[in-house]
Symmetry: C2
Amino acid sequence: MNSTKKVSMKDIAKELNISITTVSFVINGKSEQKGISLATSNKVRELIKKRGFNPNSAARMLRTGKSKTIGLIVEDIGNYFFGNIAKIIEVEANKNGYNVFYSSTENNDNTAVELINKMRNSSVDGYIITATQGIKDEILKLKKENIPFVLIDRLIPDVETNYVILDNYSGSYDLTTHLLDNGYSNIGFISIVSEMSMMTEREKGFSNALIDAQNNKLHSKTLKVGFSDSHQEMIASIQSFVLENPELDAIFFATNYLGVIGIEALQKCHLNIPSDIAIVSFDDNDLFRLLTPSITVAAQPIDEIATASINLLLKIINKELRPSHTTGEVIKPVIIVRNSSPKKSNTKSNRLAKSSHAVSIVD
Amino acid sequence: MNSTKKVSMKDIAKELNISITTVSFVINGKSEQKGISLATSNKVRELIKKRGFNPNSAARMLRTGKSKTIGLIVEDIGNYFFGNIAKIIEVEANKNGYNVFYSSTENNDNTAVELINKMRNSSVDGYIITATQGIKDEILKLKKENIPFVLIDRLIPDVETNYVILDNYSGSYDLTTHLLDNGYSNIGFISIVSEMSMMTEREKGFSNALIDAQNNKLHSKTLKVGFSDSHQEMIASIQSFVLENPELDAIFFATNYLGVIGIEALQKCHLNIPSDIAIVSFDDNDLFRLLTPSITVAAQPIDEIATASINLLLKIINKELRPSHTTGEVIKPVIIVRNSSPKKSNTKSNRLAKSSHAVSIVD
DNA sequence: CTGAAAGCGCTTACAG
DNA sequence: CTGAAAGCGCTTACAG
């Protein structure tokens, strides 16, 4: 029933009365190097276009052992950050002749391990991986077998690999300092329970900024919700945390989605941002600039992270790096000050006033 | 340097002193059917496990022409809607033993055609495609060659295919009716220049709702921005449109991203939503519920769309559907009424009042 | 019950 | 400047 039979190199060669070898050389850009005449090259190129010929990648893969495919393993492709990372990686990969297989781990160890193995025997040439907490062994295996990969967004403790990550510490430090500079002194830090480097670094950045301020009027309080808690559970935890700590005048949300959930929680508490409580969030979101008020964030330069990771991987695949060496890139986040964290007025906190049934002071 | 040489079927056969054929039969679960003795089968299975043998998928693909891979072509994987569509499709595909290649067209015809061809010669077994306007020929080609594919989100005019789309007409009709029911009578319709069915259907739904209302006090005005206009250009167009038509008391944004951009434009005009102007948007966004005010939308049931499309494709690939027949599924959108389009008060429009320098009436 | 052999569509060392 | 031929690792029709 298929009227259009797939055209192969053989067909091209036969129609032009030349050998398959010549066709192959032209296709692979070796016509110069192999001394194919320009006339022949052009004839081949024309016919290829005319017939819509495309080399069969299975055959090529079988022959060369290379698939020209890279595997991208992210936490959640539906998420703003990872979705855009994926898009840029794909464009960059395509430019270099690579396709991209992607998959989401949903931060589940088993899924992550399965994905790595499944991709392995579709022979990907390399991986870009957002690690989950428990895949250390799998990563070690890749390393031992010299399979090219780069870790993004987060590291595995005590494992030396190629990686591209954000400078979580300094982003968090700077965001906290911004809050302190604007006069906030009772800051709630809301994060998730996690041993991953990204989260521990953010926490460290936060506390060190407080310590370095050397001001004993400064106080903070921390809440950590479970990663697998439901949306609703997280909202509830945040609500009670905020309500039970009326002295808080600002909150630092340690991730983008905690920020989103947190805003929802504050709305439910009928707390006004920023007059009742200021907020900042780590990691920007498409709409944070449009919220009322717009949200101050430490933004990840998605472009930079994506480009750096695919380029690094490509270098490893092409053996432009000494395999014994490991290279890491640390990208600086950008603090975007918006309206959720203005300079604090010197009057008494509205929230404490409200909670003691006093009339709130407007200045 | 790779101590671990890849083991092949040949190695297994040689070590066991049997033929490759037998090994292949065992691997593919045909030992019964082909009458391989249980003893032999077991020996083979054991050795496979012991040697960690994995069939080379390139060879298998070359031989069988099947890749157990499906190609997913979306408009923009970084977008909330498509990112989540992709995620669900992937999970569903994996359940059925398929991998997913994905790519973004950025709504560019050339990119779309290239992607289809590139995937074609990585021998995907089928496609799920978000069409761009000018790929009719390519789609016709797929159809003629009996290559399994399903169109999602939008159709190609005059081409009969398998598809899963949203009921854009009724979503738009209902959303408009909601506006009319709440007393709005001068509605701006902001869309993009496009011949795609999804957009024309939305426009038709909008106008028909107005017509069906049979109220000659109803007016509307339409703005269409160019798809490839920059973010900034779109904002500017929307701003002048709104400013030049002060009689508008509500705006219908025909897509999610127009809604986002539109909100930004209205903020820049210092117009208050909904007191100055009400808005509704087609297609929900992660944060629309958190904006002030939250935005009324016609939401696409992402889960349903994704599941329906992958299941349909799988059926086609497995030839469970008569190839001569074409099946389409139309998913109903859900109107989510939020705060951007409340019942309109009967007083004169605030905007007209403002623009004539009168004192605005508060009730 | 099992095997020898063809062939999928490429790439590349070798020969001229 | 160009070609004939081997071989990548499988699957499967055919033969016994």
